[in-house]
Symmetry: C2
C-alpha cells in the first residue's frame, strides 16, 4: 500500500482554504485558488492540485505579490474586457472577468479578456472549459518565466507558454486541450526529479546547450519547444498575445522580476471567446455540435486515438465514485501550513 | 546553368491572368489568384507561385467549382463578417471580406471573418500579413483534404490544416508564420517526388501504417502531425474552427466531395483579427510594438535563431533587385495553358 489518505473534494477545498488564509491570503483570493485546486484534484491533474498550494504560498515571498488583491474590472464599449489583477493571483481575476467576457461574446459574436498584472501558476483548462460550458469556443494564452530556448538557440527566452482551446460538445463535457509550447510542462520535469527519474530525450538541454536526461540539469538549462520551429513559433505567438498585445511582461521579464526565484510567473493572460451562434450562417448551434460529434467519432474509430481531455473526464468519474487519494506527505505539508 | 527565364513580377501577373482567363476564370477571380501567385513568386514561395496555376485550372474539372463565382458579403450587427465564396476560389473571397473585417476590428477591438463554400489552395500568410499591415494582430485557419492521421492512428482524417499568425512590427514588415499542423506541407512531399528525392523520417506513414521515406507511398498513406499529440490537437482545432464552427466541411468531407481527386480542398476559412489599440489599457500601440522588438532582439542575439517570415522578406529584397527566375518548364506549361 502506498501512503495515501482518501478524502472528499470538500475536504480538499477546506485544506486549501485553511492553508492559504493562514498564510495571509484573503478569503476571496483563497477561495478562487481552492476552487481550481479542487478541479485539478477532481481530474487527477496532481501537479495543479494541493501539491501547488505551497507554491502559491512561496509566491508571496516576493514583496510585490498581493495575496489580498481585489481585481479591478473595466468594461468599455469595445469587445475587449480588462481585469487588472493588481498583483494578485489569476483564479480570482478570472472569477471577475469571465461573466463580462461571456456577455460581450454573446452580444458581438467574438470578444476577448485581457488579465493584467497577475501571478499565474494555475492551468488554463478550467477557464476555457467554463466558457465552453456556456456554449462558446475559447482560446487562452499565458506566458511563464523564461524556461524554453527558441528553436535553434540554447538559452531560455520563452516561457512554457501554454495555449488552451475548448469546443462545446453536444450533451457531453467540452472538448478541451491545454498544452505547453514546450515538449513537457515544467511541473513534469520537477515531478521526474522528485521521483528520482531521468527525463526522456528531447525534453531539454543543459546550461551548456547539450542534450540532457537529468531533471536538475534541465531545470538549470533550457526546455525545448515541441515540434521544433513550429512549436517555437507558437511559443513566440503566446509571448506576443499575453505580453506585448496587452501591455504585460514577456517571460524573460517575468524571470527578472522574480528575483527570489520563487517560480511564480507574473504577467498577463489573454482569452478569446467565440459564439457559434454568430459564426454559423444559420445560427444552428446544435447541428454544428452534432457535426463535430461525427468528426470525433471518425477519429475514435481508429485504435490508438483519443480526444484531448478524455483522460480528465475519466478521472472525474473515478473521483466522483472513489474520492481523492492524496499522498500523506502532501496532506501533512498542507496541514503544517494551516 | 539551370534552365530558367528571368521575368518581372508584372510578367508573372500577366502569365497567370492569361492562363486563368483562357481556361474559363472570370477576370476578378483570375486577378485575385494572380495577385497571390505574384506574392508567392516575389517571396520565393515557389510551391504557391506559378507552379500552382495548373492546379487551379485542374480544380475546375470538378463540376461544382465556379471559376466565375461572385462572392457574397454579409455584414451584420455582430463582429463576425461572412463571405459566401459561392464555390469559387479563396483569393477573391478574401478581397471582398478583408476590408469589412478590418473595419469591424477597429470598431470593436476584435472581430472575425468566416469564408464559406470556398476552394482554397493558396497559402494563408498573404491575408494575415495584409491585416498586420493595417496594425492588427491576426490568425487564419483552414482545412484541406484528409491527408493527416490523428496522433495514435494510421488513417488520414485531418487536412494539413495550416494556422497562420501575424504581428504588426515597428517600421518593418509584419512578423508572420503560416504553418501546417502536419510535419510537412503536402506540396513539399510532392516536390520531393518530382525531384526524385526521398522524404525525411517522421513525415509520413504508408497505406499500411508503416513509416515511409517514399513520397508516393506517403501521398497514398498518411502524413503525420508535427510534435505528436500536440500538433494533432492543433489539427483538430483547425478542423473545428474552419469546419463545424462556421458550418463548412471537415477535411475528410472535402475529400469525399473531391471525388475526381483534383486535390483542391473545399470548405471554409476562419480569420480572427485583433486591434492592439483596444487590448492595451493605455492604447499605446507604438510602445507595444517597440516592446515586441525587444523580444525579437532577445531571440536573435542567439546564434542559430531566426524569426518566422524572415526568409520571405529576404527573398522579397532579392526579387526586387533581380526579378523572378522561373523554371523554363513552368514557363512553357503556363504559356501552353494560355
Amino acid at each position: 500500500m502506498s501512503e495515501h489518505v482518501n478524502i472528499t473534494l470538500d475536504e480538499v477545498h477546506r485544506l486549501a482554504m485553511a492553508a492559504l488564509t493562514c498564510q495571509g491570503f484573503s478569503q476571496s483570493q483563497a477561495n478562487a485558488i481552492a476552487n481550481t485546486v479542487c478541479a485539478a484534484e477532481r481530474d487527477e491533474c496532481y501537479s495543479h492540485g494541493l501539491f501547488r498550494i505551497p507554491l502559491y504560498i512561496k509566491a508571496t515571498a516576493n514583496p510585490s505579490t498581493d495575496a489580498s488583491a481585489v481585481p479591478e474590472l473595466t468594461v468599455s464599449d469595445s469587445s475587449v474586457v480588462h481585469v487588472d489583477a493588481k498583483d494578485g493571483f489569476c483564479p480570482l481575476a478570472l472569477e471577475v472577468g469571465l461573466n463580462p467576457l461571456i456577455e460581450k461574446t454573446k452580444t458581438h459574436g467574438i470578444a476577448a479578456l485581457a488579465i493584467h498584472s497577475v501571478y499565474n501558476i494555475a492551468a488554463l483548462w478550467p477557464e476555457v472549459e467554463a466558457l465552453a460550458e456556456q456554449g462558446l469556443v475559447a482560446f487562452a494564452f499565458t506566458g511563464a518565466n523564461a524556461y524554453v530556448a527558441p528553436h535553434g538557440g540554447v538559452k531560455p527566452v520563452f516561457g512554457t507558454n501554454p495555449m488552451a482551446f475548448s469546443w462545446p460538445r453536444h450533451k457531453q463535457p467540452p472538448l478541451v486541450f491545454d498544452q505547453a509550447s514546450s515538449v513537457s510542462a515544467r511541473g513534469e520535469i520537477q515531478l521526474h526529479g522528485i521521483a528520482g527519474k531521468t527525463i526522456p530525450d528531447g525534453w531539454a538541454i543543459d546550461a551548456n546547450g547539450n542534450p540532457t536526461n537529468q531533471p536538475e540539469a534541465a531545470l538549470e538549462g533550457a526546455q525545448l519547444p515541441f515540434g521544433g520551429h513550429k512549436g517555437s513559433s507558437i511559443a513566440l505567438m503566446v509571448e506576443l498575445l499575453a505580453g506585448a498585445l496587452i501591455g504585460d511582461l514577456f517571460s524573460y521579464e517575468s524571470s527578472v522580476k522574480d528575483n527570489l526565484n520563487v517560480g511564480a510567473p507574473f504577467g498577463g493572460e489573454f482569452i478569446i471567446a467565440i459564439d457559434p451562434a454568430r459564426t454559423l450562417s444559420d445560427g444552428n448551434t446544435e447541428a454544428a455540435q452534432l457535426r463535430a460529434e461525427q468528426l470525433f467519432a471518425k477519429i475514435l474509430e481508429q485504435d490508438g486515438t483519443r480526444l484531448p481531455s478524455s483522460r480528465r473526464y475519466e478521472a472525474r468519474k473515478r473521483t466522483a465514485a472513489n474520492g481523492i487519494n492524496l499522498p500523506v506527505s502532501i496532506h501533512e505539508q498542507i496541514i503544517d501550513l494551516s
